[in-house]
């Protein structure tokens, strides 16, 4: 009798466990499938969009009229952005798909630049047409390969989740797998992305490369001298402990990272210095900042004093923001009443004791130089005439900015209001061209979910 009951109870328990296990398995399966489906969708859409990209690139080669042309080029732009996005949704993070990404980015950039400009006045150059042709033939090839991979995948019942697992466990996926196919596509795209125009500019967009150029001829300093300079820059006594370590070869210039511990142990500074010239690239202090005691205005004066103290004079405060206990300030050098935005410096001041907690000088040291063309061809009034009539100008300055092509241009910086919004407009001071129009962000309300 007792035995019978035990058997009954145990078999019920066994059955229950079985049902539970089955359900869990089902759930896991469902999750895995929906996970896989997301990957599949991204992958198939990617190859669909590569198809479309080829079509549209072909169409834009064949069209002649300016307006029609614009249409297909903006299609190219849109599709390449979509494809770029879909690349980002695939678990390729661990295999280099970088060249394909780069190709898509180049196509997007090119089509955007040519689609938005007025081609009645500025028609496509022969060079640009060649480039377009090049993109087209590349798209053809990438598409072809991608279609092949897709067919393989469909036939072999391929799962992206498997790729993911292989990549995670760092097994080298062998020949003939999806990953190797993708790699070979990427190898081809590499050839495509290389013949690009970004490197022929001679003026690199990368601030580190510019900095490397700027310090090239400066005097090489020893580690001890660097540490000394770092302490002096942070207004610390020579007695505090400091360690310096060389920056890796990934940097275009040689430099040191200096870690400084204040003797009381509360403050801790880190600062990067260039080996040549000993220029402070950035510095951060980490410590707890207590209740703010000084105002933002006070802090901005201190920030300015700090810069002047370090020999960075003739700067103007262009932006200040308070983040609870820290004041963040952006300064730009001013020459002949022209604000030099590419040379901007950032200084952060703790609002409890007015001490420096952050500094960034990379842009200043990389870009600051004598500039010669500082007189505008247009008068301010001429420039203001170019403004949208609904805009009311409030503040005007002359400014050098870097435009979307990465060129430095002399502009009128105009702050204007319309319907309660503030806009910042950069009008080219020679041509009146709107280099940049930006609606200024207002403070953001606290979306507090607890509020009834």
């Amino acid at each position: 009798m007792f035995r019978a009951i035990t058997i009954a109870v145990l078999s019920v328990a066994l059955l229950g466990t079985g049902i539970f296990a089955y359900q869990t398995h089902q759930e896991k399966e469902a999750l895995a499938i929906s996970h896989e489906n997301n990957y599949q969708r991204a992958f198939h859409q990617l190859s669909y969009h590569m198809d479309q990209l080829e079509d549209e690139l072909g169409a834009s080669l064949a069209t002649n009229g300016a307006s029609q042309f614009s249409g297909s080029l903006s299609e190219v732009w849109r599709i390449s952005s979509l494809a770029h996005n879909e690349m980002g949704e695939l678990p390729l993070g661990m295999i280099p798909a970088k060249e394909t990404d780069q190709y898509l980015a180049n196509v997007a950039e090119f089509s955007y630049e040519t689609a938005v400009r007025d081609r009645n006045e500025e028609p496509l150059t022969n060079e640009e047409y060649d480039k377009l042709e090049n993109f087209y033939s590349q798209a053809k090839e990438i598409k072809h390969d991608l279609r092949t991979v897709q067919a393989q995948a469909l036939n072999n019942d391929f799962r992206w989740s498997d790729v993911e697992r292989d990549l995670m466990s760092d097994q080298n996926p062998g020949e003939g797998t999806m990953v190797s196919s993708f790699k070979s596509i990427d190898q081809k795209a590499k050839g495509f992305s290389e013949n690009n125009w970004n490197d022929d500019a001679g003026f690199s967009l990368d601030v580190n490369k510019r900095l490397a150029k700027a310090v090239k001829d400066k005097e090489k300093l020893s580690e001890e001298e660097i540490i000394k300079k770092a302490k002096a820059f942070l207004d610390l006594p020579n007695s505090v402990d400091a360690k310096a370590e060389k920056l890796g070869e990934g940097m275009p210039y040689k430099g040191y990272q200096v870690v400084i511990e204040d003797s009381d142990g509360e403050r801790n500074y880190m600062i990067d210095m260039t080996e040549r010239g000993g220029l402070p690239v950035w510095a951060l202090q980490s410590r707890d900042i207590t209740e703010p005691k000084i105002g933002l205005n006070d802090a901005s004066e201190r920030a300015k004093e700090f810069l002047e103290d370090k020999g960075i004079t003739d700067v103007q405060l262009v932006d200040s923001k308070q983040y609870d206990t820290i004041g963040t300030f952006q300064f730009v050098p001013v020459k002949d009443d022209v604000r030099l935005y590419p040379d901007a410096l950032i200084v952060e001041i703790a609002l409890d004791d007015g001490d420096l907690v952050g500094f960034k000088g990379a842009n200043y040291f990389a870009n600051h130089r004598e500039r010669h063309d500082l007189s505008p061809a247009l008068t301010l009034d001429d420039a203001l005439d170019e403004l949208h009539p609904n805009l009311k100008s409030r503040e005007e300055h002359l400014a050098i900015i870097e435009n979307q092509n990465g060129d430095e241009v002399l502009t009128y910086e105009i702050f204007a209001t319309m319907n309660g919004d503030t806009y910042r407009i950069y009008l080219n001071a020679d041509t009146g061209f709107e280099e940049e129009v930006k609606r200024m962000q207002e403070a953001e309300p606290v979306y507090d979910v607890d509020v009834v």
Binding site: M251, S320, G358
Partner: protein
Amino acid sequence: MLKSAKILSMTALTATLLLSIPQTSEAFSDQVIQKGATGDDVVELQARLQYIGYYNDTIDGVFGWGTYWSVQEYQEAFGMEIDGLVGDDLKARLDKTTNYDEQFVHEALENGRKFTHYGTTPLEIQKGPKGSKGGGTSSGQSGQPSNQEGTSGGETPSNEGQPPAQSGQGQDQGQDQGQDQGQGQDQGQPEAAPEQQPDTGGEVPEEQNNEANIQKATNVPDGFSENDIQIMSNAVYGEARGEPYVGQVAVAAVIINRMNDSEFPNTASGVIFEPRAFTAVADGQIYLTPDETARKAVLDAINGQDPSNGATYYYNPVTATSGWIFGRPTITQIGKHVFAN
């Protein structure tokens, strides 16, 4: 524009003021308030400017562009140096000419409650959902207070900059032509300052177009929303908690460097949730609640700090699983993370 504006003397001010409000609430602290500031002083400034019709935006405690233009208009109207800085003389003048119910405004700020234009309207009325435009306020004086909602009585700019003795008249005119549109103008205003009350605004039956409200706000860096910052803080906390502060800034900077790199998605969430990009995303640690340090690190990075010196990759050499990453040219090591590009 950033020169200090401590020029006008206090005595001249007091002498020219025709009337001052009898009840003076707590005035500002000592600081010169400038654009970008946050806190109680800014709340008070906005409330007081709104009281006399120079500020029609939300009272949010952040000195943004709207407040900046309002201050400039006020300075222009009273012949002060137009620099957008709120110094002693401006604060003194505001203190004299306006009313500030600190408790009421702060309560509203805490509760996030909408209420109507802050002005001389009795509070009982203001608490209602619809309502009254603050009375003796408005717009007669400057060209366009805050440029908002078409409320300004820009037609009477001739009174600008006149001594305050005349500004009362200016305001009356402003109201005649201004946003009250002639409604309910005959109701007196028990609490209002004499110079401001003549024919204004108590309760107006219809809802006005000036849904001014009070809501707390924070400074956010250009191009990022508070929610972006939150997502990034989550990622930084999940990836680098326990790392030195600078190391956390560097991780946040890598996210931003990736956004600016054509090889990667160009939004914060796109970069963070890219499959297999971050381990904290893969194992769910990103859903831990981040601490204040992570948030600060993200803000620092967004504001331009980059201890990684432009890196787009980083890894922990002890735990990294995939070998190819070691081949990338390293830039620097901070804490346990090696940064590379």
